[in-house]
Structures are given as structure tokens and as C-alpha cells.
Symmetry: D2
Subunit: 360 residues, 4 copies
């Protein structure tokens, strides 16, 4: 392709200055990795209390020469002076201590914890087992599932970035509820996660020899993401939805694979179900609907911001099985966070996020 | 512990002579491995058409000096002369060509294929997409799920050894149906298998680089084991049971992890559910029921013949989630086959099978 | 950072039109993946005889919506009309049948096979066990190890892209020989490769269950890359160098880890050895020299074009141990190929190649 | 095979009572697993300070119903009263505090730490960086490499069980030095270990996400096992031997793969080298010498006590490359420890240790 480009531009260009709090956890480093490839963002601060004073690329050597910033301690004034946007990738509970101060400084905040994902503070407090210290701020925040709240997000300065399991599950079920195709009872989400989902904290079950070549379920019927999924599916259905959500740990680094079961309200074919997904997601740049007879696998989206969705109708049982895959660190955390940054900063939503998955 | 043992015995000891047909596949080599440690069995023939004339331990070098038998071709007369019992670990469809001839010779046969697992030849023919050429022999056979058919098995010379997914699923659900505790509708089995389940045949999806660090579902709503599970659960329930069965491939060698969902007929606690399992399996040497609050993992049973079962009642939804784990090559194939051999030969059921799992 | 950019440009921009032959092998798909992110290249043809007529993104689903080109058969005229540059990622031996025809058409060619890496056709014929059918073209070609032949490469239209083991080994040893620091006898290279190095062809040893949780050496003293390493190290040393080269297969997808041993000519410290590396590679954008006391790991460079080198002097033995890591598919194949494309097309050498490694 | 067995025996049978100190580490649990299958040993104590009061099978659930002993604290009198033999699988340094007290009680002790492996206390103190507090006991101890010291071991009550890297390396090189076939200079051992070798202690580098899909070298030129290897190879050579020893961590649970390089004193063929190995190991029940043209892999010995050795002579360089594999937890720790127990208790050396490796 040969083309003639006459390009005359005069502009005042201002790179967005970005801070990453909790940058040395897995969600944090993934945020840093993505921001390093973002054409309009510049990382100015990485805050890490455990690694204060240490060069980021000495902790994550893949970033040698790419992100050699020295980690700083938590200093709200310094962050406010150095950043326009901050990503808070802190443990649940820690975020809500820090965010009010940052918010007051006028910063735009994308919070990767669970603290600002809820519409009803009581739901948060019930499932997280702690009081929410900034319920007033919860009202200011928006739930950052971009494909569902694209229009709302830019109106806010505080985004509650969705959880990994939740993004994967909601994306796989919301259209069917919005379209009133499935029964709201008997929805079951059987989800499998890679080990990065457990974070970087030292824990025996996540040691290589303890979790390779095995598999387990955990927190059956009690995992916090259940409440986040139910909040959003209820909104989609226009009525209360309660789900069985079972998380599993699988011996791989990245990826969430959600197998979702729902009973059809009336006889439908696989093709009809896929049409519903196309109706809602057909124009989405990060959603891939699989043709009938094909199904997504995690390796199709590893390392990328894509969501891959396939479905099969079991006509014997009048039940649909939806398969939904994301990379938990990208669309399930850092990628969606950058997508949210793009939305609240007025960039193209996909900026810096279009790299293909790794497959290998 | 010191004790005085006065042991006077006079006996005519006869080692059982065993043949393994299809010994070079994964179920075959696992059968050989277990038989090498069995005190009452002696392998006299390993039949492999692809490796005829080759030393078994040159194919599976872990058996050097332990099983150096030379593989032979398929010769019914030779097998009949050399063996008392044969294990047929042939591809589905191939078994039913060979088994009538072996049966006629008076041999005891444990068939690891799907060919002799069905009570109704029509179900077989529907799900396997081929005609059954020995329907009369199907009547002679017994379904070899030892914990359910312990009393029946010794009366037969032909055992249809259950499938891997099916053993794991049936063991996890049968007691609840036998006890009438769960609704027969809305039973969902979400199963995850290690890659040995796919066998040793060359296939792109099972290459290391294609299946490590990823996960997928396959044959949703159409996997053959569905019919085998439904046959047995229907018998347990005393009425037709149809289930959603979704197999997944996980990046590990061994193991099946079945997460089973069923709606409770009436309010029950986790403890009550576990009591039902204890009632049916309490005296089983190969079944481990997990205490409330603990759940099995695959590594607890890797390399062993044990079945590990745990359960959680989700009281919000009045639903039980049962987690059932086996090693697909052992309890799901070779181990249960040897257990069946023990039963039909009059040995202690656990002989040669009591080794602990590997954990590491 | 805020800056004022006045950018007036008038240019005739022509995207380089690129063909990838053998695009469905692992080196091929990695080339495609990298080219999809290259700002000056546009893939116009992917040639695959096994997948002719099939959409590339149906084979590698990670590229859905990113590279949906339909694979075409091998048609020299068509390729010549549609492409400016071609990457040939064909099996060894196949390349040299196709390349003369492409070369005659005036195309620029980067060949990923071993066919055009040798200065002496006899060495090729000895180690590859076949006659070279285009020895005259061998003279036209250049050995594409960019860091060593940066100035030569742009003068050629045919690049013999180096092997994976060889790039890793040569990069780790050449400076020490160029600097006359080590004895040319007793050089030992113990190299470990991920399984993608074995390609995508079906082969039992590369099945998941055969190669996970194990390790092996192969082709000891006879691997073809030995000759390529010796060719380049001899040039560096200014005299014949023969090495022990032992390749191993490790249970991981990507990466080569070469542990290189050489006897010091005279007493030196680790710091002095690292200084030699800095002298030769200090300005290289894709080479990272590790500080004393730190060593590279494969995860530092996974998915990227970087070479990571560390060293330790064993003063007891007056021997240096160099550790060199690359991603076999990137710097060891597709990445270096794109780097070569950049050089022969006059682009910035690192264009499209600067993404950080994955670490996770 | 049918035979008539007339078996009249009157015997006073006394099971050996065994204690395992440090039983909850990886070497400890492997010792327990092997002892559970040992026909003449009965575990009477498992000592674990971190898990005192906890059932062993609640820590290692693979042993449910097999080893349900409750862990006890460290009480020398109690151990002395309850045990005939103790295995001490304590951290290096801790062993030498406890062992004198146990030794004084008359117990037989197999120590899996490095504390009693040295003939010269100065070597220990130099490489372990600590004073040896029981140098007098060091003289009473024997180095428990069974194949080399079979005759000496039964004369001692204290066995210094060899290290994992050392067993693998010494077994692969000692015959060549004993036979004076190789130069004592320029011996290089490039060893790769599975992650269990790093133990069960929490450490970031051993977390799944940090060590899967990667590889690294560590402690180059400084690993303690160097001194143990040199001690034994020097004895074999009858003169000082110093080696380059480079340990690597590979993404697998079990296994050590040592690639050993040595220059031949004079021209020899691969067959001649293998004959040397056969001369020294031909009658060993746990050593497998591979035929020319075949090489061992870790999966050939995983889970078993076997050592697998192959060799290739590089005639171009007059150098031999020996490949030696063991399971680090079995022959490299617990298995050899049980083999030593068998020797010092007068049992058949292979008792309880003859299970085949897992392959899968």
C-alpha cells in the first residue's frame, strides 16, 4: 500500500503523567508494562512501601532500560504534584485509606482493589468483612467495566476497576440476561484462574511445588467476587440474580476461564445465542465472539486485553454453556485499568492496548 | 513394636498370569507399572502392534530392569495359552473386535475401552456412533465401578472398566442420588482433566507448546462419558437423570477434578451432606471423605488409586457443590482395572494398589 | 512533561510490503506477530502449503481481527508482485529450493533456515548432510547477527538469519575471544532450550505428557548449531575454535539459556570480564549486561528481542562462566529477522521490537 | 508360573522403629512416603517444630489413612525411647545441634543435612561458613553414598547422607577417575535441578509465577555441593580434583540432570567409556547404564531410587560428556537415606525402594 501523506500539525502536546501505587505486585507491574508501551502516558511515580528506594527494573528485570524509575514511598503531596492520574493496585482495604486523600487533590484515580466497585456499601461490608471508611466517595465512583459503562466512566474521576473473575463472568453472561434469554435461577459459574491471580505475596499454596501439576477449588460459595458478579447481573436482568460461583486454581500463570451455565427461557439454538452476543458486543474492539463449533482457549488471549467468548446450547437440556476467557492481569486488571484511563482522559479507548496475545 | 510370629503355612501358590493388550498407550503402561508391583500377578504378555518386537523398557525407560518383556503381536491363541487374565487397553471400537475371541478362550477380561460399559446397546451406539458387534457379550459383562458393584463383579469374566471422567463424577454424585438428597434436574458436572487423558496418540493440541499455560473446554454437551454418567446416576436415582457434563483440558499430566452442582431437595448443611458420603463410602479403602472446611486437590491422589471427595453446601442457593478428584490413569483406568482383577481373581481388593499418592 | 511540538512534514510514505513463507510454524507465527506491531511493515502474503486457503487467525486465534489474511500457496510470481521483503521460515533444505527464485525477482530475503548462514559451503554440507544447491547465492548472503555485522547487512539482499542456540552462544562468547581474554581450547557451551525450539511438527517427544516435568540432552557433539557457533567464534578469535555444545530440552515454551565455560588466559576478575562485554555491547539497544552479583534469567527476556548476559569468574579455577539468555523465537528467530529487515530497509534497527519481556 | 511353596518359619520379628526429624520438609515427607511402603520399618515419631500437634496427613493429604501420626516436638528422651533409627532432615546447621544427643542415646542416625558428610572439618567450615560443633562425631560418621561405601556404612551408627547434586555428579564421574580415564583438570559439571531441591521454605523465587516458564543459574562457583563433589572425586582420582559446578533451577518439581564434561587422557570411544561404567556399576541394582546412542531423561527415574547414566565421546575434542540423572528427593535424599537404613540395619539394600519411576 502506497499513500501520500501531507501532515501538518501544530499542537501543544502534554503527556499524561501517571503514578502507580502498589506497583510491585503483579497487577502493578502489568500496569507498568502496559504504560511503558502507551504513547500518551508517562510514568512519573511508582510507589512501593516494600521496595522504596529500589530501582523498579531491579525488581522486574524485564524492564531494564525500559522503566528504571526508583520506587518511592507513599507521599500524597508528592504524588499529587507529579501525577495527573494514579492507578492504585493496593491490597483490598488499603486502597480506601489512601484514595480519599488523592481524590481531594483532584487526581484521576483508577482503583484496582474491590473498594470502589459497589453500588451498595452494605454489600461491600458484608462480603469484605470490614467497614467501608469512605462511603461518600463510593457514590462518586463508577464501576469500570468499559463495555457496559463506556458512557458513564468519562464523567468520573474515580473508577472502581472490576475484578478479574467478575469481568470474565459478567462479560459472558450479561448479554443473555439483558436479552432476557435465560432463567435467573440456576446460573452457575465455574471459573479457573492462573496463579498470578493469587498475587505476589508469599504463601505456601502458591509455591511452584505446591501448585504445579495439580488443581483445586477454593472459597466455594464464599468468594467476594460473587457479590460483584451478582450486582452487575442483577442490573442486567432487572431483578435479583444469585449465582453459584466456584473459583479454581489451575497450574498456569495467566488467564481466567469461566464456564457459565444457564437454563434457557425457551428453546434456542447456539447460533441464536451467538447472535445475542454479537448484538451487544459486535462493535467492541476487545471482544471476540467465536463462531459456532469453535471455542476460545486461554492462549488465544494471553498477554492481551481481549475477551474471548464462545457458546454451546445443549438442546437436550435446554441449557446454554458459555465459555469466557480473559487474561486476568490484562483485561482482568491492568489492561482494563488502562482502558479506563483512556476513557477518562479522552484518548482512543484502545490506545496502547492492541497488542496481540502471545499464543506461545 | 516387637511381636512374636509363628507362621506355618503350606500352600500351592500360583501367580496369576496376565496379559496387557495395548500396553504401550498411557493406560497400558500404567497397568504394567501397577502390575509390576502386584504380589500375585505376573505379566506374561504385552501386546502392541506398533511396537511388536521391541522391549517394553525401551519404550518406557522407567521400567528398565523391571519390565523388560518384548512386545508381541496380537495372537489370540498365544495369549490364551500364556495368560489367565487380560487387560485390553485398546482404542474404543478395537476392543469389541478382539474381546469375543478372548472370551471364548475362557480368559478373564478387563476392558478399559467404552465397549462393555453399557446396559443398553442403543445408548452405546448412539453416543459412540458405531454399531456394537457383540451385543450378546455386553450382557455377560459387568460395569466395573468397584465401590458400586463389588458384589456383582466377581460373578463375571468380562468387566467393562469405567471411564475416567465417569468414575470421578459418579463417585461424587451417586450417594446424593441414592439418598434422594438432590434434585435430578439441574445437575452440572464441570470436569477438568490432565493431558494424559487424551492418550499418547500424536495430536497437535496435545503438544507441549499448544497446551501448557492454557486451558480449554471441549465436546461441550456431546462427550461420550455423559451417557455413561447418566446411566449410572439414573440407576442410583431410580429414574432418568440427565446432566450437563463439560470436560476441560488443564495443563497437568494426571488427574481429574470434577466440580459437581446439584440443587438440594430440602435444606441441608454441609455436615449432613458429608454424612451421606460417609454412610455410603465410610468403609471403602480407596475413598477419602474430607472434613467440612477442607477440600481435596489433585495432588492428594496423584499416582494413587484413591478417590478424594469434599463438599460445600451453599445455603443461600440451597445447592451443594461436590468436589471429586481421582488420578485418571489409576482410579480412572489402570488402578481400577487392577482392583477389578483383584475382585474377579479372589484377591484382597486393594492388593498392589495401596501406595500413597505423590503430592510432589 | 509538557512540550510544544511543531511538526510539519510532507512525505511520500510507502509501507514495506512483507511476505512470510512458512508462516504457520512457530518462527513464522512469531514473525507475523511482530510484524503486526511494526509501524512500517504491512503483511501482504502468508504462504503455507499445509494451510492454503485457511485464514491465518483461524490457525492462530490470538490474531483474530489482527491478522486475518488467508494463507496462500507457494507462487513465486504472486509473491514477487505482492512483496518487497520476504521472510522464509521453511524447514532447512526447503529454503534453498525457493530462495534462488525469489532472489532473482529482486526481492529482499531474510531466511530463517540454516541454508544461508555459512561462509564455507563444505561446512554446511558436512553438518547438514545434504548438498547445497545454491552455493553461488551463499556468496551473496550475509550472516545476520546484527550486533556483529550491522555494517555489512544493509549491503545485501539475502540475510542468513542466525540460529537460536547460536545467537545466544555467540553473543555470550564473542567479546571474550575478540578481546583475547580466554583460551580457545576447552570452551564448553551447555545450552537449555524451551520446547518451541523443536517446532510445531508432530513428534512424540514434544507431546505435553512426554516433555513436561522432565529434562534431557540430545544430539550431544553432533548438533548442527555447533558448526555455526564455531564459524563465528573462530572469526572472533582469529583462529580455529572448536567447542563442546550440548543442547538440552527444558519444560518451558520459550527461551534459551546458555551456560558458557572458558579458561582465562590470565587472572581476571568478574568486573573485568563484564567490562569487556560493556566495551563491545555498551551501546547496543538489545543487549543487557548484568552487574556483578546479578545474573539473567529467561523470564527477564521472554517475548522480547533482548539478550541478557551475566558472568562470574571462578578465581579458584581461573575460569569464567558466562550466562546468556534470549527468547529463541524472538532474538533467536523472528525478532532478529525483523531487526535484519529494519537494517536492510533503512529503518531504525529497533523499530517494532522494543516491547518489554513478559516476566509473568 | 506355578510353583509349590512349602514355607515353614518360626521367627521373632521386630519391626524397626523409625523417627523422622524435620518430617514436614520435602526431604522429610519423601522419607515418610518411602517408609510407609517399607516392609520392615514402622514410623513411630515424626518431629516437626512448626507443626507440633498436627496430624501429618493434614499437612500432606496424600497420606490420609496411610500416615496419620501426630507430629511431636523435639524431645530427645522421647525419641530415644520410641525409635531405633532416626532420619534427621533438618536444615544445615540444625542437625549438628541435635545429633550428638541422639547419638549418645545409642540411636542409629541418618542425617540428610551437610553436617556429617565431610572428612575434613575445615572444608565444611569453609564452605558452610560456620563452625562445626561436633568435630569428634564427624570422625564417627560415614559418607553414605551406598554404591561407593557399601562395605563401610554398616560399621557406623551415624551416616552423612549425601547431597542431591553431589550424588548425581559423583555417580557420573567417579568411575572415570577411578579408572584414570580422564584428566582431573577441566572437569565441568553443569547441573539442573527441579524446584523441590529448594525446599519448602517460603521464598519468592520459588513461587509458581516466578519460576515456571523460566530457568536460571545460581551460586556459580560458590555452591556448597562443590566441596562435597571435590572431596569424593579427589578420593577417586587419588589426588586433588577441583571442578566447575554450576547449579540451575528448571521448571519441574523433581529431578537432577547433571551434564559432566571431562577431557580424555587418551583416545577412547563411547563404548569404552560405557564399559568403564559397567565395570563399576554393572551389578548395582539402582544404577542403569544406557547403551550407546541412548541417553537418560529425568522422567525415566522420577519418583524412584534409580540413577541413570549415559555418555557420549566427542572424538573431535577428545572429550567425554556424561549425563547423569536422579530424583533429587529419592536417590538424592530420602531414597538413599532408606538405602542407608537398610545397610545399617542388615536388610536387603533395596528393600522398599524398588518401585519403578513414574514416567508420566
Amino acid at each position: 500500500m502506497i499513500y501520500l501523506a501531507l501532515n501538518i500539525s501544530i499542537r501543544l502536546k502534554s503527556m499524561i503523567r501517571v503514578g502507580v501505587l502498589g506497583g510491585t505486585g503483579y497487577a502493578g507491574v502489568e500496569t507498568v508494562r502496559l504504560l511503558c508501551g502507551h504513547p500518551e502516558a508517562e510514568i512519573t511515580r511508582i510507589v512501593s512501601q516494600s521496595f522504596e528506594g529500589k530501582k523498579f527494573s531491579d525488581i522486574y528485570e524485564n524492564l531494564k532500560g525500559i522503566c528504571d524509575i526508583v520506587c518511592s514511598g507513599l507521599d500524597i503531596d508528592d504524588i499529587a504534584a507529579a501525577c495527573d492520574v494514579v492507578f492504585t493496585a493496593l491490597p483490598h482495604g488499603a486502597s480506601k485509606e489512601v484514595i480519599p486523600a488523592l481524590y481531594e487533590k483532584g487526581l484521576k484515580i483508577i482503583d484496582l482493589s474491590g473498594d470502589f466497585r459497589y453500588r451498595d456499601v452494605k454489600v461491600y461490608e458484608k462480603w469484605y468483612g470490614q467497614e467501608h471508611t469512605s462511603p461518600e466517595l463510593l457514590k462518586e465512583s463508577v464501576y469500570g467495566l468499559c463495555e457496559l459503562y463506556r458512557d458513564e466512566i468519562p464523567k468520573h474521576r474515580l473508577v472502581g476497576n472490576p475484578g478479574c473473575y467478575t469481568t470474565c463472568s459478567i462479560m459472558g453472561l450479561a448479554p443473555l440476561l439483558l436479552d432476557n434469554a435465560v432463567d435467573t435461577k440456576n446460573i452457575i459459574i465455574d471459573a479457573k484462574s492462573g496463579v498470578t491471580g493469587a498475587g505476589r505475596g508469599l504463601a505456601l499454596p502458591n509455591m511452584f511445588c505446591e501448585c504445579t501439576e495439580t488443581m483445586k477449588a477454593y472459597k466455594i460459595a464464599t468468594h467476594r467476587h460473587t457479590s460483584e458478579i451478582e450486582q452487575e447481573l442483577s442490573l442486567a436482568a432487572g431483578g435479583e440474580v444469585m449465582v453459584s460461583f466456584t473459583p479454581h486454581l489451575a497450574p498456569m500463570k495467566r488467564g481466567i476461564f469461566a464456564t457459565c451455565y444457564a437454563n434457557l427461557k425457551e428453546k434456542m439454538t447456539t447460533a441464536q445465542i451467538l447472535d445475542i452476543f454479537k448484538k451487544y458486543y459486535g462493535k467492541e474492539q476487545f471482544v471476540r465472539i467465536y463462531e459456532e463449533g469453535t471455542l476460545p482457549e486461554i492462549k488465544h488471549i494471553t498477554g492481551s486485553n481481549y475477551v474471548a467468548i464462545g457458546a454451546v446450547v445443549d438442546e437436550r437440556l435446554s441449557r446454554v454453556v458459555v465459555v469466557s476467557c480473559i487474561d486476568n492481569l490484562v483485561k482482568g486488571a491492568a489492561g482494563q485499568a488502562v482502558q479506563n484511563m483512556n476513557l477518562i482522559c479522552g484518548f482512543d479507548e484502545g490506545l496502547g492496548l492492541k497488542a496481540a496475545g502471545m499464543y506461545l
